[in-house]
Point group: C2
Chain length 290, copies 2
């Protein structure tokens, strides 16, 4: 799914405002995090789903960039001292460590605005039409808002001091992680002018790879900790946050992750176009080892 990476990088850069302005440092701060890379999973998904619907993947480029800007703003704000207080992100100092918390707050805010400006840009309107732009931006706003990504972040904070049950854990991950993945998948379909059935299938795919991803993450965490400690992780971790593994055990977790991956792959049958990369991506998430 890396075929479009350089296209995405170039386009993200293009949509950033020029630094030729008084608030230069703000643009630099936005660029610092936006260009920090990562795997660009969400924009790649948007392009692949556009292709799966039988359209030119590039049609979804502005939508793809918009999703990545939302993802980037959420990382900047999550790292803030008042939030998770993380000094490092992707092997580099966090935005607020380099630019200060005030600038990091504003950079996150401005990246959210830029995301919508991008999804609703003249370029996007020319590529996909007004109605698709409205639908895509509304989808994005819903998935990243109070009942989506922001809601997931809030639930995470609410359960910092108390143990979450499996329903809460599932809801938190669905909102915190899967919501924006679903946004990317659906927006790719919207760019292609897809019907409701295809949108539904994209949503099922996004939801299930989101779940599988999170569970595999938990499993890998436990395995690497066991390796370090040389013994199984058990009751001595009772005060930690709930995870899928702590609630369901490692074997049941592997089963669920496999089932979710199969569901995601089955959902791809709803598409006529080439879905090879999407299928491969689902299995690669399941079988990754780090």
């Amino acid at each position: 799914m890396t075929e479009y990476l350089s296209l995405i990088e170039t386009k993200l850069q293009e949509f950033l405002p020029s630094t030729d302005c008084t608030e230069k440092v703000l643009i630099e701060s936005m660029a610092y995090s936006l260009k920090a890379g990562g795997k660009r999973v969400r924009p790649c998904l948007a392009l692949e789903f556009c292709k799966a619907c039988g359209a030119e993947p590039q049609k979804a480029l502005p939508f793809a960039c918009g999703v990545e800007m939302i993802h980037t703003y959420s990382l900047i704000h999550d790292d803030l001292p008042d939030m998770d207080n993380d000094d490092m992100r992707r092997g580099r100092p966090s935005n607020h460590i380099v630019y200060g918390a005030a600038t990091a707050i504003i950079a996150g805010d401005a990246l959210q605005s830029l995301a919508f400006e991008t999804v609703l840009s003249e370029e996007a309107e020319k590529l996909c039409g007004s109605a698709a732009c409205v639908k895509a931006a509304r989808t994005l706003a819903g998935y990243c808002g109070a009942l989506g990504m922001c809601g997931g972040q809030m639930i995470d904070i609410m359960y910092e001091e108390k143990k979450a049950g499996i329903e809460i854990l599932r809801e938190m991950d669905e909102k915190k992680t899967a919501a924006l993945i679903k946004a990317a998948c659906e927006m790719g379909c919207i760019a292609a002018g897809a019907d409701d059935h295809k949108l539904h299938c994209a949503r099922v795919y996004g939801d299930n790879i989101g779940l599988a991803f999170q569970i595999v993450d938990d499993i890998l965490d436990v395995l690497s900790t066991e390796k370090e400690l040389g013994k199984p992780v058990g009751s001595d971790k009772e005060n930690d946050k709930s995870t899928y593994v702590s609630l369901l055990g490692i074997e049941r977790c592997k089963e669920i992750a496999e089932q979710a991956t199969e569901k995601a792959v089955e959902a791809l049958e709803g598409f006529d176009g080439n879905t090879d990369a999407l299928k491969e991506f689902a299995y690669s998430l399941l079988n990754r080892t780090n």
Copy 2:
């Protein structure tokens, strides 16, 4: 311009998500600030400009609510400990004092998403059409982003330690305050399907009342300080931030505010509909005493 206040209050409430969810406290935090009132200047301007273009003012209601949500999120983030660190807002404890900084950050983020969800809602699309929704949301995103409101906030921070000249002061206010006022005025016109000339006139009006408002604010500040101290405010305030009065003197400031108000009122000649309320509002900003 208070004719539509209850309509706006009702609609703002309607667009808020229900608190019937796990992240209830997030919705409460958003509602706390959104319902905290203020004069609803921006949404009123949107409705009045829609009327000035000869359309039903209510057509602009979702756009008007979107602008107010952006304004509200900006106040929540501005008050944060890492920003202006203000404990009080409109006579009540700030959002982060009641809900904590983490929730306040997320509430601001979610209000920005909600603003775009509202401007791009099915209701807005039904009232104004897809093309107008795209144009309105793009306009809003531009004015509230890195080269608009967020940029103004950044410039404010950049000049905390050093004195701003008149050009910087003007640019800061234009971005920090006038940008969102212009967004409201233009979005009202967009709801009415107005042409580019009307949009231009709305922009001139918004820019000039924004300037007049800020200058009158500075004048009133100085007068109330003089009243308190019983002597003219002069060179002993050298270490404070630049203001229009400190840079230009009080008489020149009064002149500029009057000229700006006249320019705003003249711009209303570009409209066929009733602009009485807009004219009255411009003069009321100039002649206010607190």
